[in-house]
């Protein structure tokens, strides 16, 4: 079943030196699966994620033939209607918890605020729900965490709190923009496991944006590889190592590996034709 259907998405930024095109004609669909988007910085992967929520601010211009959320076109919605989509039906977890939590509000107040904004409940119910969610992301002593401020949290805890907050309204789609790149490898696994169980249990669709090829290969079902604003290749995550596009191959070969020591790492040779070629469709 298709949850999300994006057709021909473009994001442009006019500047003094002409128009900069960040995303060029991207199309893909998302079912109840874990879809990975990988690419280098500047490849347009984060902007693709943000455009789904229509979070491109002027002077940025975003166009698409349609963005269908269960048949409902997000492109035709007013800004007011979009507020009912953001958070409620599609949630987003940003890269760095330090910048996405309010530093002068307690964790509890923030989670409860988010919940009460979308649901007509009293404080007591919101508190209970917040505790329940913090437990769901395996935070020990949730009562203490509710009373703490973001600076008292470690990076891994902060990111789990963000995930808890995003999952409270029970959205259909979760967009995770580099949710683990600010975290250590050992904590990274924990956060991913939590996201994985939640996504599976609730039958959500997950868009996982990352620059880490190995992580995506392990964690996702399907992968879109982006380069210069286009999708250059689409493949199943377990077949990522057999990817054919020279860009994907280049990225894979440039990784140092423990099991295959090499004297020199391969350096990616960029071909200007890659950014000219039309976007590959990520539809099933």
């Amino acid at each position: 079943m298709t949850l999300l259907d994006v057709e021909n998405l473009w994001v442009k930024f006019p500047s003094r030196h002409g128009v900069f095109v960040a995303v060029r004609g991207v199309s893909f669909t998302l079912g109840k699966e874990r879809l990975g988007i990988v690419g280098e910085s500047g490849s347009g992967k984060s902007l693709t994620g943000r455009s789904i929520l229509r979070l491109i601010r002027p002077p940025g211009i975003m166009t698409a033939d349609h963005i269908l959320l269960e048949g409902d076109d997000l492109m035709t919605k007013t800004e007011r209607d979009m507020r009912a989509v953001r958070g409620q039906r599609i949630s987003m977890v940003m890269q760095d918890p330090k910048f996405s939590l309010n530093p002068v509000m307690t964790i509890g107040a923030q989670i409860m605020e988010a919940y009460m904004l979308h649901n007509a409940v009293n404080k007591k119910a919101a508190y209970a729900k917040a505790i329940e969610m913090l437990e769901a992301v395996s935070i020990r002593a949730p009562e203490r965490v509710m009373r703490s401020y973001p600076h008292e949290m470690s990076g891994g805890m902060g990111q789990r709190i963000m995930i808890a907050m995003m999952l409270i309204p029970n959205p259909q789609i979760l967009i995770a923009d580099e949710p683990t790149s600010a975290l250590d490898v050992s904590v990274q696994r924990q956060v991913l496991d939590i996201m994985d169980t939640l996504v599976k249990d609730r039958g959500m669709g997950l868009i996982f944006i990352s620059h880490d090829l190995n992580l995506v290969a392990d964690f996702c079902d399907r992968v879109l590889i982006m380069y210069a604003g286009r999708i250059v290749e689409v493949c199943d995550a377990d077949k990522l190592r057999e990817a054919k596009h020279p860009y994907t191959r280049g990225l894979l070969n440039s990784l140092p590996r423990l099991d295959e020591p090499r004297a020199r790492l391969e350096v990616l040779q960029r071909d200007p034709a890659w950014s000219e070629a039309p976007s590959v469709s990520g539809r099933i």
Binding site: S41, S186, R189, L251, P256
Partner: protein
């Protein structure tokens, strides 16, 4: 004889009940021309060891010996000609209003060089940037290019030891490969000794000959890279780290 040796190093921040012991009783030695890695999670004290060596962490005890000379509380000028550091974030470690020429020229001037003009050009060639980058400002450079400038700055006084604090963690994998290759080349060309901090075991496995695994400020295990590759780490924490990074 070892190029750099650290014995019973303790580093702490704050005092009284706010005292945090960031490094506890760390001991290791790095031979001349060797590349030594420090791995561990954030907060394990790996960067703090580098900062203590360069004098950026004021409260420390123990012995640090560089090239046979013990380091006192106040570092002499000669020390900075021997030991240089490259920082993690190339976006934060370059002065935004100084051009590449100013950054390198100032460093060379402070180290008492007189042929600054030719040296700046040589340094830029060394790190693969070339003279055309000389009058650019940091905002006109990509992350990889900035890290190259930071490496050039560290190389300016012709040091023997380079301390690398996560030199590639802010960069893309494709750029990471370029920088790691550059560092490997520079090491053979200039006969440098590296101490490299990273949370990425595969990067350390690629770059280093030996490595120390750190946890909560203590070095739990020192092993060579062959042991790491064969997954023969003995300490449970190192094994856990190895598992997590596969």
């Amino acid at each position: 004889m070892s190029m750099l040796s650290v014995e019973n190093l303790n580093v702490w921040f704050g005092h009284g009940r706010d005292r945090v012991d960031a490094v506890k009783d760390a001991t290791f030695a790095v031979a001349r021309g060797e590349s030594f890695g420090l791995v561990g999670e954030s907060g394990s004290g790996k960067s703090t060891i580098l900062r203590a060596i360069t004098g950026l962490a004021p409260d420390w005890s123990g012995n640090i010996t560089v090239d046979g000379k013990e380091i006192g509380k106040r570092r002499e000028k000669a020390f900075f000609k021997t030991v240089q550091m490259v920082f993690q974030d190339p976006y934060a470690s370059l002065h935004p209003r100084h051009s590449v020429d100013q950054v390198l020229g100032e460093t060379l001037y402070l180290h008492g060089f007189t042929d600054i003009d030719t040296r700046v050009v040589n340094l830029l060639d060394d790190v693969g940037l070339g003279a055309k980058f000389r009058f650019r400002y940091p905002h006109q450079l990509s992350g990889g290019q900035r890290q190259r400038v930071a490496i050039a700055r560290a190389l300016a006084p012709a040091p023997e030891i380079l301390l690398l604090d996560e030199p590639t963690s802010a960069l893309d994998v494709s750029v990471q490969a370029e920088i790691l290759n550059l560092l490997a080349d520079l090491r053979t060309e200039h006969g440098l000794t590296y101490v490299m901090v990273s949370h990425d075991l595969s990067v350390v496995g690629h770059m280093c000959d030996r490595l120390a695994v750190m946890k909560d400020g203590e070095i739990v295990e020192i092993m060579d890279v062959a042991t790491l590759r064969n997954m023969q780490a003995t300490h449970p924490y190192s094994q856990h780290l190895l598992q997590a990074s596969l």
